[in-house]
């Protein structure tokens, strides 16, 4: 409203100025007719938190670098080779904090990581906006959509060109999307430094999916992969220790295992006769119960090597059954060094190499035990 009023007044001034100009070539004075500033005043509450200027951020970066050098001097390190990890360690040493929330502890990081990314003023000296989609309101997002659609059209043109030459069937290049996922809405917002709505995000992903379905989309592969994130590899590669040899030339291997609160460590020797020693005592004396001895012998029986290995193990903690289980796991892990990869896989599938995660469940208040409730009385 105020803008409209100002426009009309300026226009009228402009017209009259155009008529007056030939007569008096003096400096034009801009008499700004004041409209109510209250109308034009920015809604402070709606604008959000105070924005950081370029100069301020630059200042902060200089202070950070200076501070880093001071810190290096204080710790007696070389300021040139002081990395961010060293900074973190130094801060943790100088300002020890007992707070549980890691993000509440004192930190010293580069200002670009602390201050959120901002948008600079979008127009130049003559007030013309820099970006051609500025007046849409969401310039980064719509320019992204524009670019993706442009690439889609390019791929279609390329496909038509190939089809015209009859080479479409051979030149199919698809993008490999296995092992990655599309960026989530928050990540896309961070990339564009702009708020998105769910609808916008879904439109963007749909357009990318459409691009990926084209037969010759391989030409824009690296652009599309910018919007894919690699999924973390779930499985950890099991490392099999190589065999060690003692002074007699007998091969042996060690393994560790646990079950409930028992911890066991076993050494399995080759060229043996099936002798097992537990904590310096023969296994028959240490485990009088048949069930425990069966647990001990299970890995060897599984691999048909019952009488071929000797074992010396130490075990502590827990009860009789859990100690037996711990030794079983330790011996299975030790045996991995003696056998082929396939047999390791068989053992893994049999459950011999997996630590049993079950532990004693705690007692809860208001109940007698972990699960047992108090006697329920009707009245």
């Amino acid at each position: 409203m105020a803008a409209a009023v100002r426009r009309v007044l300026r226009a009228s001034r402009g017209w009259s100025a155009a008529l007056r100009a030939p007569e008096a070539p003096r400096a034009q004075t801009l008499r700004l007719i004041c409209t109510t500033t209250a109308v034009q005043k920015r809604n402070i509450a709606a604008s959000g938190p105070e924005k950081y200027t370029e100069a301020f951020i630059k200042n902060q970066i200089e202070e950070f670098n200076l501070g880093k050098r001071h810190l290096a001097n204080m710790m007696g390190e070389d300021p040139e080779t002081f990395t961010q990890e060293d900074v973190d360690k130094a801060i943790a040493y100088l300002f020890p904090s007992g707070l549980f929330e890691k993000r509440a502890r004192p930190i010293m990081k580069h200002p670009t990581e602390i201050f959120p990314k901002q948008r600079a003023i979008q127009w130049g000296e003559d007030h013309r906006p820099f970006h051609f989609l500025f007046y849409t309101g969401k310039q980064s997002f719509y320019s992204l959509m524009h670019d993706i659609y442009g690439k889609l059209l390019d791929i279609q043109k390329y496909q038509d060109h190939l089809r015209g030459q009859g080479l479409l069937a051979e030149n199919r290049k698809q993008i490999n999307l296995i092992g990655s996922r599309w960026l989530i809405k928050e990540e896309l917002e961070e990339m564009l430094v702009e708020k998105l709505s769910d609808h916008d995000y879904s439109m963007c992903i749909q357009l990318l999916e459409r691009l990926v379905t084209l037969p010759c989309c391989g030409i824009e592969e690296e652009y599309v992969l910018k919007f894919r994130k690699e999924l973390a590899i779930q499985l950890k590669k099991v490392v099999i220790e190589p065999l060690q040899y003692d002074d007699q030339g007998v091969a042996f291997s060690t393994g560790e295992g646990k079950r409930k609160t028992s911890r066991a460590s076993a050494v399995v020797y080759d060229n043996g006769s099936g002798k097992i020693t537990v904590n310096g005592v023969d296994y028959l004396c240490y485990f009088p119960v048949m069930q425990d001895r069966e647990q001990l012998m299970f890995p060897f029986q599984f691999l048909d090597r019952l009488g071929k290995h000797d074992m010396v193990c130490t075990v502590s903690g827990g009860g009789r059954s859990s100690q037996a289980g711990a030794i079983r796991l330790a011996s299975a892990r030790a045996l991995c060094s003696f056998i082929t990869e396939n047999e390791v896989e068989f053992m893994r599938q049999a459950g011999l190499l997996t630590a049993d995660p079950r532990i004693r469940e705690r007692k809860k208040p208001g109940q007698e035990g972990a699960r047992r409730k108090f006697t329920w009385k009707k009245r």
């Binding site: 426009r7 300026r10 127009w123 007030h127 989609l133 524009h146 442009g150």
Partner: protein, 274 residues
Amino acid sequence: MAAARLLQAVVPRFSCFPSLGKAAPRTSQLSSRLYGTLLAPEANQQVDPNVINDKLITEPLRHPDFFNVKELFSLKDLFDARVHLGHKKGCRHRFMEPYIFGCRLDQDIIDLDQTMKHLQLALNFTAHVAYRQGIILFVCRNRQFGHLVEVTARDCGEYAHTRYWQGGLLTNAHIQYGTGVRLPDLLIFISTLNNVFEPHVAVRDAAKMNIPTVGVVDTNCNPSIITYPIPGNDDSPLAVELYCKLFKMTITRAKNKRKQMEVLYGLQNKAESS
């Protein structure tokens, strides 16, 4: 009778024809903007920079077709681009009846002679706005041509909006964009309707904000509040490509002319002062 009544409705629109001789553009907000960005004249300089700027601005206004936009298109080009094809009789808008040549097999045919005149006026006006370094915003909500319009705008160095129009973009600009934003000085509609075949909100908002509009109006559109309507087809790809090409050529021509004139007057100034 009906024809006479229609002509009466049309006369105010065509009142701009007598002023063809002057070819005065309807906004001079730009001139004051230019004066505002002037540097203070130095004391030792004899020639007042105001005088040069005056000449720069007023020189194009002395000619009816300073940028020679007539040569950019011919009636045959319009016909080949299928600009004369309108919608069916049932979709006809009452206010478009003056621009319709006739109706064949229920399809309205637009009068290309009138289109020529309107197109020349509109292109001339766009050229003047671009010459004075005004901000031009292309608006088109037709999904088929959105990308083309954006590309055209980018190539000219101007701006485009082919997406969902948020309510306060023009009327609530200071809160949406921040203070100090400069609104567009001209809105060009490649299609005045939005996706649900209703008049685009931007025509009304531009009229509210006193921003002149140039728009291609089809037989189902309302041309009343558009400053420079261009009756023509807005649905065929060929027609839209023609319009985009014409606007791009006029704007680039006007900008190049501006650079030439600045250089010319700059040289003249140096010649006079030395």
